[in-house]
């Protein structure tokens, strides 16, 4: 609603000196174009840069998380190797470490690698699995009959091929959940890009939104901030609706097995 108001009315609404109309009497659709133009320091390009950075980072992170988590989940569920149980517990234990604890050591590590102001610190860790999703994949894969894996072995597949051709297609419901949650998490991630990306050209949408705040933390163009926030939300909503069918299928399959 605020995103469709004029600057004066939006400010009045935010500071509480006037109410917000449920249906704006004079909707300012141009606010959206205006917001896109005003993002970053470069008109239009600031928005295009941030959008493309967000897309690249998110796609790479989603792909990485799904692939690595399912591969590790398969190994924990189906391969028998010495210490697999303790390794699994150790992996679960990493979930108990709050992100804030690892933030500074990770920053120092990535600075040592020379990765600051590149997308690498945001993307590369995704290719090493995510403890929660590994756990989810492992539980799901453990329910897939062992004989399917054995049949594939007899049919001439190695473990990587079994994972790629048999396990991954059967894990669609888990992959949908993993992809959507990772997408939302990465798309909306503010802290990561803020820490690692320093220039305007490399920032993502979530950080670019910040450019509407002035240096004292106050808001000048609250209507533009709202407009851009709304635009930023669209992909998450679309993805959720698109993946809904697979979600429900996964839940139903879990409920009535057999």
């Amino acid at each position: 609603m605020v995103s469709l108001e004029t600057p004066q009315r939006a400010e009045a609404a935010i500071t509480g000196s006037a109410g917000i109309a449920l249906i704006p009497s004079d909707p300012q659709w141009s606010n959206y174009l205006h917001a896109m133009r005003e993002t970053g320091s470069d008109p239009w390009w600031g928005f295009i840069d941030a959008l493309s950075n967000s897309i690249v980072v998110t796609v790479l992170v989603v792909v990485g998380t799904v692939l690595s988590s399912s591969l590790v989940g398969y190994a924990f569920a189906r391969l028998r190797f010495r210490g697999s149980r303790s390794m699994f517990l150790l992996m679960l234990a990493t979930m108990m470490l709050p992100g804030q604890v690892t933030m500074i050591p990770l920053f120092l590590l990535f600075r040592e690698f020379g990765w600051i102001d590149s997308i690498l610190p945001l993307v590369v860790p995704a290719y090493f699995g995510n403890a929660f999703f590994i756990f989810m994949y492992r539980q799901f894969i453990a329910q897939i009959p062992e004989s399917l894996v054995e049949a594939a072995r007899v049919d001439g597949l190695g473990h990587f091929a079994i994972w790629w051709k048999i396990i991954l297609p059967l894990c669609k419901p888990v992959s949908a959940i993993c992809a959507v949650f990772t997408f939302i998490g990465t798309w909306n991630d503010f802290l990561g890009p803020l820490i690692y990306l320093h220039t305007d050209e490399s920032s993502t949408l979530a950080v670019a939104l910040n450019s509407f705040k002035n240096q004292y933390g106050g808001l000048e163009d609250v209507h533009l901030l709202m407009a851009l926030s709304l635009l930023t939300m669209i992909p998450c909503i679309v993805l959720f609706i698109a993946a809904q069918k697979t979600f429900v299928e996964g839940l139903a399959r879990g409920a009535v097995k057999g």
């Binding site: 054995e150 049949a151 594939a152 072995r153 007899v154 049919d155 001439g156």
Partner: protein
């Protein structure tokens, strides 16, 4: 087609459970060999070792006279039909059947062909696979189902797809792990006949595991009866039935099972007899070598070799406990001093018998089996 040789093969699981205990078994080219035994006898483990799905703890396994102990499942060129069929649920019937062929198309050769733009070779290979799938599905009557997914098929159809997937690859050896146990009784009998026909047509080496001795008897060229990880008898079905190697095989093969009676063998006034619970049964003179001294022994007699006797001598007094009529035959359970005896007769010979009647039953002396005393008692072979 291939020959298979187990040489002192053992399997010991973690925790020391010995599932298979030093078995020696040789299976010839084109033979239909059935491993049969109760649950936990080691038959499935034996099959899985042959498939390369279980490691061999000890001994040597040879395929075509080559040791395959360390060869992985994919390199053994065998096909395995699982009890639950293990069809890939996300693939159609056609893709399931083609799966083994597709995955054997070596990736390197496919990549090289792609890089060289050698699409003709790739197309030829794909066409060959398609033709193979078509011919296999035609053989098994699956033509109309090729585009369906496994969940849209009935149990019998799934079973046929599983067999189709196995024969499409034309492997050296076929392994079946209780493939009929999920089918209903009628379908099981039909599929049994189909499998037999298939074997006749392919002349392939087949190793088949089942706990159903009837299935084993009807399918096998050679029957391997297993118990507690050991082979109890390795012979033709007829030999296993007519001359069981020990007490276990005697009681396992045949429905209803053989009557087993513990007693002693004795000689009195030149007459050999079997004595149990004070009842004396005369034995033919061919059992003479075993009757020098009173000796603990087990007598086995098949239910269809027991009959109601009019005379009371050389017969066992018993009470009729239950009568089960199966139409063409009748099973009678009798209670006597030695325990329970089963009898199978034609219905017309039992017209005057009612439950609770006191009767005398006699055993056909020519069809008596004798075993050493004890659970594992070996068969005693009479003189000819």
């Amino acid at each position: 087609m291939a020959t298979i040789q187990f040489k002192q093969v053992s399997k010991v699981y973690e925790g020391g459970v010995r599932a298979v205990d030093a078995i020696d078994l040789s299976i010839g080219e084109g033979e239909f060999c059935v491993l049969v035994g109760p649950s936990g006898c080691g038959k499935s483990t034996t099959l899985r070792m042959l498939a390369g799905l279980e490691d061999i703890t000890d001994g040597t396994l040879e395929l075509d006279a080559q040791c395959v102990n360390d060869l992985s499942a994919k390199d053994r060129d065998i096909a395995f039909v699982f009890q639950n069929y293990a069809l890939y649920p996300h693939l159609t019937v056609a893709q399931n059947i083609a799966f083994g062929l597709e995955s054997r198309r070596t990736h390197r050769s496919a990549m090289v062909a792609a890089l060289r733009g050698n699409s003709a070779a790739r197309h030829a290979e794909s066409a060959a696979i398609e033709a193979r799938v078509a011919s296999v599905s035609h053989t098994l009557g699956l033509d109309a189902l090729l585009q369906r997914r496994p969940r849209e098929l009935s149990g019998g159809q799934r079973q046929r797809v599983a067999v189709g997937r196995a024969i499409a690859r034309d492997p050296k050896v076929f392994l079946f792990d209780e493939p009929l146990s999920n089918l209903d009784a009628r379908l099981r009998i039909e599929t049994r006949a189909e499998l037999r026909q298939l074997h006749r047509r392919l002349r392939a080496t087949i190793v088949y595991v089942t706990h159903d001795q009837e299935e084993a008897m009807t399918l096998a060229d050679r029957l391997v009866v297993m118990h507690e990880g050991r082979i109890q008898q390795n012979a033709t079905p007829a030999q296993c039935y007519d001359a069981p190697a020990n007490r276990f095989v005697a009681s396992f093969i045949g429905t209803p099972p053989m009557n087993i009676i513990d007693g002693t063998i004795e000689t009195r006034e030149g007459q050999y007899s079997f004595v149990a619970s004070g009842i004396r049964l005369a034995l033919p003179s061919r059992w003479a070598p075993f009757s020098n001294t009173p000796r603990a022994i087990t007598l086995g007699i098949r239910p269809d070799r027991v009959h109601i006797s009019n005379a009371s001598s050389n017969a066992i007094p018993a009470t009729v406990e239950s009568i089960e009529s199966l139409g063409d035959r009748t099973d009678v359970a009798l209670r006597c001093a030695m325990g329970r005896i089963l009898m199978r007769s034609l219905p017309e010979s039992l017209q005057n018998i009612r439950e609770g009647d006191a009767v005398h039953v006699a055993c056909d002396p020519a069809h008596i089996h004798l075993f050493d005393a004890g659970v594992a008692g070996a068969r005693l072979t009479p003189i000819a």
